[in-house]
């Protein structure tokens, strides 16, 4: 549905994008993850035809954005990082104006506007001036603008930026509910956001795509081994030395544990070694009389993956 290949763009000396290639399948929600200035907005601006690329092609729903921009744009809804709102307009008028610009058939405009307002629960503010709305509502009006023509492809640039936690969860729920009907490309620099909402994740750093895949794929590809968390009843410090003899990697006191008092230990097991080692760990703890209280697998968060990749 979205096909991007070999996209490059430079602003003078600065290489904003180099050879960016990815595809988004129909109905997927794909997260575009990167730090500020990584090239997310540039990529999205190119995809939406706001700026041109130096080289490479971008294809939206079968139409090249450079060769047939009008056809591509008809099938595209875009919410930029700053919602493109006319603050002096009424919510309803603004959405109708966006519908008109998208060349929806005149007779269906009213029905489309009503449906969009209902979908985004904007009914209460329909006759209010956009400039008087809260940030959360403005963002929803921005989303309405991108959705009013029922586009096949939806591109959202940091849709939850600057919202409060309640609004963030509302917008997220909304985006999730749109999955299936629309193909969605969503950018964010907040990891938990894409982890929770997206089917596939593309990580971009300094204008290059670092890796892409599902969250599970990314997490497992980044793992050289599993991290376990061990809890003992007493003598954490000597437990550490005992474990050291078992050939484990990265043995350390867990963060937020004070050695000698609290007895949390983290260690990493190489996947090649197999789970057999866990039996040995348990045995060593019991034999040493440290008192086994817990042994759990600690899943790597996307944050770990992300930090590792963009180092």
């Amino acid at each position: 549905m979205i096909e991007v290949s070999g996209l490059s763009k430079s602003y003078g000396e600065l290489n904003a994008l180099s050879n960016v290639t990815f595809t988004v399948q129909k109905g997927q929600i794909v997260g575009f993850l990167g730090a500020n200035g990584a090239g997310k907005s540039t990529t999205m601006d190119i995809l939406c035809g706001c700026i041109g690329a130096d080289s490479g092609t971008a294809n939206i729903a079968g139409f090249d954005i450079t060769d047939s921009p009008l056809e591509a744009k008809k099938r595209l809804g875009y919410l930029p990082d700053v919602a493109p709102l006319h603050l002096d307009m009424l919510v309803g008028d603004y959405i109708a104006y966006a519908a008109e610009l998208r060349k929806i058939e005149r007779s269906t405009i009213k029905a489309r506007v009503d449906a969009t307002i209902e979908k985004l629960t904007l009914g209460d503010v329909r006759n209010r001036v956009i400039g008087n709305l809260s940030k959360g509502f403005r963002q929803r009006v921005g989303l309405a603008q991108a959705l009013v023509h029922d586009p096949e492809v939806l591109i959202l640039d940091e849709p939850t930026e600057g919202l409060d936690p309640t609004q963030i969860s509302e917008i997220r729920k909304l985006i999730r509910s749109l999955a299936g009907q629309h193909t969605i490309l969503l950018s964010s620099h907040i990891l938990s956001e894409v982890q929770n909402t997206c089917d596939k994740i593309i990580i971009i750093n300094k204008g290059k795509i670092v890796t892409q895949g599902t969250y599970a794929e990314l997490a497992s590809s980044m793992e050289s081994g599993h991290i376990y968390r061990l809890k003992v009843a007493r003598n954490g410090l000597s437990a550490l030395t005992t474990l050291g003899r078992l050939g484990l990697q990265n043995i350390k006191a867990a963060e937020n544990a004070i050695l000698g008092s609290s007895e949390d230990i983290e260690f990493e097991v190489n996947t090649a070694t197999g789970d057999q080692i866990l039996d040995d760990v348990a045995k060593a703890v019991i034999d040493g009389g440290f008192g086994l209280r817990g042994l759990t697998l600690k899943t790597k968060s996307l944050e770990d993956v992300f930090l590792q990749l963009t180092k």
């Binding site: 939406c48 035809g49 706001c50 700026i51 041109g52 921009p69 009008l70 056809e71 744009k73 008809k74 595209l76 875009y78 930029p80 700053v82 493109p84 709102l85 006319h86 603050l87 002096d88 307009m89 104006y97 966006a98 008109e100 610009l101 998208r102 060349k103 005149r106 603008q145």
Partner: protein, 254 residues
């Protein structure tokens, strides 16, 4: 092409849903009223004095011509105020993205903005009719002259707006858009006074004089509608609308 009217309608309404249009009308009518009042007083004075001095009494057409020349002058301030919002404001507030991502051609956007600003300024021009109306009610001015003057002013206004749109499309700074538009229009107004100094006679002077707006307008103020002078304004308008279109298109590739 439906985009033209959608954009035009929205922009036109936007002038009136903000204090912009009211401020423009207020400014325009206040200054025009001030000048008109002065002119009428002067006219009355000269009418009573002229026979005594053995001179010719001034005509109403002369009064109106002075007034219409003033419209030209006040437009130098009003037209930039109208066009500075067209692109610069939208670019500054980032709402221009809505137009950039809509399936509309650059030409549709340019023409949409153009008809909106022409609409606003046409109303301003219509409001100025109270002064000629005053002379019609109290005297017997040449109505053909009034009509041709208004056609001339309308053409002038369209060309000024096209120029303003072009300047506005190049910057996201409203102040710069205002300043450069005003400067450019002022230059066109005084070009025929400056031409002898700049051109030093010959073909350069002729070209410079042709480029000036005031000479072309004068023919309309005399009560004649000449195709040649109308063409100047129409070509001028078309050219700057084309430039605006090119500017918008080229911005995609930066």
């Amino acid at each position: 092409m439906g985009g033209i009217f959608a954009i035009g309608r929205r922009d036109f309404k936007a002038y009136f849903s903000s204090p912009r249009a009211p401020a423009i009308f207020w400014f325009f009518l206040l200054f025009m009223g001030f000048f008109f009042n002065n002119f009428v007083h002067m006219f009355m004075q000269m009418t009573t004095q002229a026979p005594m001095m053995g001179g010719q009494a001034p005509t109403l057409e002369q009064l109106l011509k002075a007034l219409f020349n003033n419209v030209h002058f006040i437009f130098l301030l009003i037209v930039p105020a109208v066009t500075m919002t067209s692109f610069s404001e939208e670019k500054h507030s980032k709402s221009f993205r809505l137009l950039q991502t809509a399936p509309c051609t650059a030409l549709e956007i340019v023409l949409g903005k153009f008809i909106a600003s022409v609409g606003v300024m046409a109303l301003v021009l219509a409001a100025s009719f109270v002064y000629p109306l005053f002379t019609i009610l109290n005297g017997n001015p040449d109505k053909v002259m009034i009509l041709s003057s208004y056609i001339g002013l309308f053409l002038l206004m369209s060309s000024q707006l096209a120029f303003g749109l072009w300047v506005s499309s190049m910057t996201s700074n409203q102040f710069l858009a205002f300043l450069f538009t005003m400067f450019g229009l002022f230059l066109l107004l005084i070009l025929n006074w400056m031409a002898p100094n700049l051109g030093g006679g010959g073909i350069t002077e002729t070209i410079l004089k042709y480029m000036a707006s005031s000479d072309h307008l004068d023919s309309f103020f005399k009560g004649t509608i000449s195709v040649g002078h109308a063409t100047y304004f129409i070509v001028f308008t078309g050219m700057f609308l084309f430039f605006t279109n090119v500017t918008l298109d080229s911005q995609r590739w930066r």
